[in-house]
């Protein structure tokens, strides 16, 4: 069995705002094996990006890790001082493709400069070496190495996203978190980027957390899937299990709300209402105000994740 490169246990990261405590990452546990892709899905605001930032050891202010453990390659990173995280962990052990990063490239600097600047300043690499490395990874993602001399506005959306992916790979991390890497792209470019990520997974043995709200895209690449709702993982398991035998009512409804390209569907299902705010989430099961099966116990006690099948867990009182 492949070893775990990432082990997350009871992780909590809250935003301490002046309106109250936003429980964005609320007691999450999962593991990621070498060469495995875990898809992370859930509605807007459920805490997907927050989890990504937390795993990078950089929750956005006023966020703080409250408790729990994150082990990368066996090493605990929760509690490490910032300079150690910066020198030894972030980007070389775990890196992240930020949501919307392709639109955040600075128009006044060349692509190459933006790729290598962190290598030179944070990692003390020589300019030549850094540039060589940037060119090597640009080629790996299917771009010409000359791209280093170009400016962002000279590149198409698909090319920019490839640059961002190459940048995340520069220090050969074990784990890459890709946060909505295809969301703003047209369908053809989106499929090309997914193909690229499949190739990287295979050729580099990369482990990935692939974040998106789009369950169709997620199915194209994920070996396992975690479904988040209001700061919690409510179901997790192998992709086939999640897509074909979803156990949690929320997952079932989400899947039934997707129109299919080649199937006749009379009516799409939808989930009435909206996700709760994370300052005062509903008591008991957080999904209960929207769940068609909600019972008395759901309003009072929170269900724990329970093994419903081999490597397949869900948190619901019906199980």
């Amino acid at each position: 069995m492949a070893k775990s490169v990432l082990e997350v246990n009871n992780l909590k990261m809250y935003y301490f705002t002046n309106k109250g405590v936003v429980k964005a990452v609320d007691d999450l546990s999962f593991t990621l094996k070498k060469g495995e892709v875990m898809g992370l899905a859930g509605e807007s605001g459920c805490g997907k990006s927050s989890l990504g930032f937390t795993l990078m050891g950089m929750p956005t202010p006023p966020g703080k890790i409250v408790s729990g453990s994150v082990k990368i390659d066996g090493r605990e990173i929760v509690g490490l001082p910032e300079d150690v995280l910066r020198k030894e962990v972030r980007w070389q052990k775990i890196s992240m493709i930020f949501q919307g990063a392709m639109n955040a490239l600075n128009p006044v600097y060349t692509v190459g400069y933006q790729m290598i600047e962190p290598l030179i300043y944070h990692k003390g690499m020589e300019k030549e070496e850094a540039l060589d490395r940037a060119q090597k990874y640009l080629e790996l993602v299917g771009l010409s190495p000359d791209i280093v001399y170009r400016y962002p506005h000279e590149l198409s959306g698909g090319m920019k996203q490839r640059v961002i992916i190459a940048t995340a790979l520069l220090l050969e991390p074990e784990v890459v978190i890709a946060d909505e890497p295809t969301t703003a792209l047209d369908v053809v470019v989106q499929a090309q980027i997914i193909n690229l990520m499949k190739k990287l997974k295979k050729e580099l043995g990369l482990s990935m957390i692939f974040i998106t709200h789009d369950l169709s895209i997620l199915a194209e690449i994920s070996d396992k899937v975690a479904i988040m709702y209001a700061g919690k993982i409510i179901e997790i398991g192998d992709s086939e299990k999640i897509y074909y035998e979803p156990a949690h009512p929320y997952t079932q409804k989400l899947l039934a709300s997707i129109p299919r390209l080649h199937e006749d569907v009379d009516r799409l299902e939808f989930i009435p209402g909206q996700p709760p705010n994370l300052i005062t989430p509903p008591k008991g099961c957080r999904f209960h105000p929207r769940c068609p099966y909600a019972m008395q116990v759901c309003k009072e006690q929170e269900p724990e994740l329970k093994e419903v099948d081999r490597d397949h867990y869900a948190a619901c009182w019906l199980l």
């Binding site: 892709v37 509605e43 807007s44 198409s156 959306g157 698909g158 047209d186 369908v187 053809v188 470019v189 989106q190 499929a191 090309q192 997914i194 193909n195 499949k198 190739k199 295979k202 709200h213 789009d214 369950l215 169709s216 895209i217 997620l218 199915a219 194209e220 690449i221 994920s222 070996d223 899937v225 992709s239 086939e240 999640i242 897509y243 409804k253 989400l254 899947l255 709300s257 997707i258 129109p259 299919r260 390209l261 080649h262 569907v265 009516r267 799409l268 299902e269 939808f270 989930i271 009435p272 909206q274």
Partner: protein, 335 residues
């Protein structure tokens, strides 16, 4: 197809590109973005006609031409037999705008953030002089909100847009379009910014309104799965042209044009069993700019079937290959 309510004939919209002072002095020729480049289609009464295609292919421009937010460079648009391009006086245009409404993609920017929901819905009534008294208008507003399932309306009318969810905001935008009792609605990516669970709700609502109120839709989207689900007919646009059009199921299940096939092959589906297989994408490169449109078949630089000497020089005509199913490709039926 049902009896057509909207007819679009040889519609063109070219946007001039600013030359800059030096270019103008040098006498450089005027250049244009050919956003919509000679398209024709008909929409049947109470049907949904989808325009699909990648970013920049001219979908929104077409929608804006239909609602008269833009004037065409050439071509005709007929609604219920009346030539829309001939409407000139403010009165005529106003009467037209009452019949034809547009819903935009972004529920956040299409509603004035300083208006309460009540004001958002009252505005079109005031513009069109509908409802003599506040009480009459209130009744219409409550009815429109109930129609889009914002209920009970009295709980919502006093709120500002930021005090309701994204899905609710989009439903308010739909209510605002409906309150004038339109015959035709252009829905420009009405669900793209919404979460999946809410997306289905808005689509179902639009479908229900079609049946209940007899509205006809021009549904603009880049999402072929929702187009198949929601529409009767689909037109696929590429660089300002309709390259294929026909009944939704035929276009999706039996695509004729290489571009449609490429688009379809790229659509992700919620089926994880092929996750380790690299997907075949029968298309090259990315969309070129709408300023430098390739000669001949404009898809030829990306087409895997392109025949040099033919496709790169001769423009293919749109032909009806089978009943109601059209495509423009020299190799139609041969690939």
């Amino acid at each position: 197809m049902a009896e057509p309510i909207l007819k679009v004939e040889n519609l063109k919209k070219y946007f001039p590109i600013k030359r800059g002072l030096i270019g103008a002095l040098k006498g450089e020729p005027h250049r244009f973005v050919r956003a919509v480049d000679d398209i024709s289609f008909e929409v049947g009464k109470q049907e949904v006609f989808a325009l699909v295609g990648e970013s920049g292919c001219g979908k929104t421009t077409t929608g804006k031409l239909v609602v008269k937010l833009l004037e065409p460079t050439a071509g005709r648009i007929y609604l219920e037999g009346q030539d829309v391009t001939e409407l000139k006086t403010t009165e005529e245009v106003k009467a037209y705008r009452r019949k034809v409404q547009i819903i935009f993609q972004d529920p956040f920017s299409s509603i004035n953030p300083r208006f309460r929901i009540f004001d958002v819905l009252e505005e079109p009534l005031l513009i069109h002089g509908i409802g003599e008294t506040k009480a009459e208008r209130e009744e219409l507003i409550f009815k429109a909100l109930e129609m889009v399932k914002i209920a009970p309306p009295e709980d919502y009318v006093g709120r500002f847009p930021h005090m309701i969810s994204g899905g609710q905001r989009q439903r308010v935008a739909i209510a605002r379009a409906l309150i004038l009792n339109p015959t035709f609605i252009v829905a420009d990516e009405p669900v793209s910014m919404l979460d999946v669970s809410i997306r289905a709700e808005v689509l179902e609502l639009m479908k229900e309104l079609k049946e209940k109120m007899g509205v006809t839709y021009l549904y603009i989207t880049h999402d072929l799965s929702t187009a198949r689900y929601f529409s009767d007919y689909i037109a696929v646009m590429y660089l300002g042209r309709i390259v294929e059009m026909g009944p939704a199921k035929k276009v999706i299940d039996n695509p004729l044009h290489p571009y449609t096939r490429a688009l379809l092959s790229a659509v992700p589906e919620p089926k994880p069993e092929r996750r380790n297989v690299i997907k075949e994408l029968p298309i090259k490169g990315e969309v070129p700019s709408a300023v430098d449109i390739p000669p001949g078949c404009r898809f030829h630089p990306r087409c895997i079937y392109a025949q040099m000497g033919l496709c790169d020089s001769k423009h293919p005509e749109l032909v009806e290959y089978e009943h109601e199913h059209f495509a423009e490709c020299h190799l139609i039926g041969k690939i």
